[in-house]
């Protein structure tokens, strides 16, 4: 079926199979490979994108469900040539190592700070609970979220 979406500010229309997962649509149809796939069971959060104002796991939705909606992926966070404060904070605080979970993790932190501009450590940890990182032990990610909150 035909869907039309706005991704990172640009509108597009595509003919898709109903079973096409949103993550596959973003990666393979729209060519936005920044969001990743780390599991099949909606645990890891590597595929997290913003659907309107909400962070969602795009591996647990079909592209047709996003019809008519606005999607923001990691590729759409930086603006006017400068990083989003959360991206900048991940860079400064070494909030990533292999980088695979990072796009989803950054979106999760963005969602957290959108709703809670001054989170405690515990709130940060709760806020990124849906994103698995195997490299950092999360500590520098917590630091990054705190640093981004100060911006």
């Amino acid at each position: 079926m035909k869907i039309s979406v706005r991704i990172n500010g640009s509108s597009r229309e595509d003919e898709v199979e109903p079973r096409l997962l949103l993550i596959h649509y973003l990666r393979e149809v729209a060519g936005l490979t920044g969001s990743h796939i780390g599991c099949e069971t909606s645990i890891c959060g590597a595929c997290t994108v913003m659907l309107e104002d909400k962070a969602v796991k795009s591996c647990a939705m079909f592209a047709v469900q996003a019809d008519g909606r606005e999607i923001t992926t990691i590729e759409g966070l930086a603006s006017n040539g400068s990083f989003h404060p959360v991206q900048e904070a991940f860079w400064n605080e070494h909030g990533l190592q292999c980088g695979f979970c990072t796009p989803g993790m950054i979106i999760a932190v963005k969602q957290l700070l959108d709703r809670n501009p001054n989170p405690t450590d515990e709130e940060i940890r709760h806020g990124i609970e849906g994103n698995v990182c195997r490299c950092t032990g999360y500590q520098h990610i917590v630091n990054a979220a705190k640093a981004a909150a100060k911006v």
């Binding site: 109903p18 909606s42 849906g130």
Partner: protein, 288 residues
Amino acid sequence: MADNQRERELAMITQEFNYSRPGSLAEALKLIADGGKPLAGGMSLVPMMKLRLAVPEHLVDLGRIADLATITEDGGKIRIGAMVTYYAIESSPLLAAKCPLMVTAVHQIGDVQVRNVGTIGGSIAHADPAADWPASLLALEAIVHIQSAGGTRDVPMEEFLVDTFTTALEPGELLAAISVNADPAGAGSSYQKLVQPASGFAIVGAAAHVVRGGGTVTKCRIGITGVSGSAFRAKEAEAAIEAGKTPAEAVKGIASGVDANSDIHASAEYRKAMAEVYARRALESALA
């Protein structure tokens, strides 16, 4: 998906299906009457489909039916539409003020992304034995509002849950909403949960809802999830609390009568023992 079955899928691709996205409840009910499978938030159904444990031929996406996504209050009854997301519950001032158990419970479910999309109707209709909601909804004596092309019916939560992945929903029926009572004066509640560390589901979840008056507990309701195939009310313990027993006394043997699940995360024996611990903690917190 609390079970571990042998031949599960290796990939993340569902079978083919037809997809409808009705704009009204009436239209949705017609499609469901024709055998369509309702798709709510998809937080349970989509992973099941990816593992090809669920293979619906026709998905009916309820995502654009505004009527199903509202929280309303009418005469002390709070009606929560099936498509109300966990996040909407978590951030509802109405529920925070009048039914705080819903809010404290939802905060312990899943993760941010799941709460953004997951819906209360989808969760309850899925009837995962490790789901969190049933404990609180049993303790709140929630009513499940069911609609079909043929009409409506109301079922108490306790009767709605039949067994693992099995509810009182008949073919062609849709869980349209649930309703709970606004807390009366003197109410207290708590949800306490032993988390399965990999999935975040409940190994044991215990919800307690009490009403105090004149120095005694006039009403106590306890819901327990995760222990067995279906969440249950702990009526003997409720009666014991209402009779003035302490939580520690009341919870003894609270799950002795149920056929407890056993898996790699917890044995039946441990689940039963933890049902006592978490029910006691929920009661102590609700009474505090």
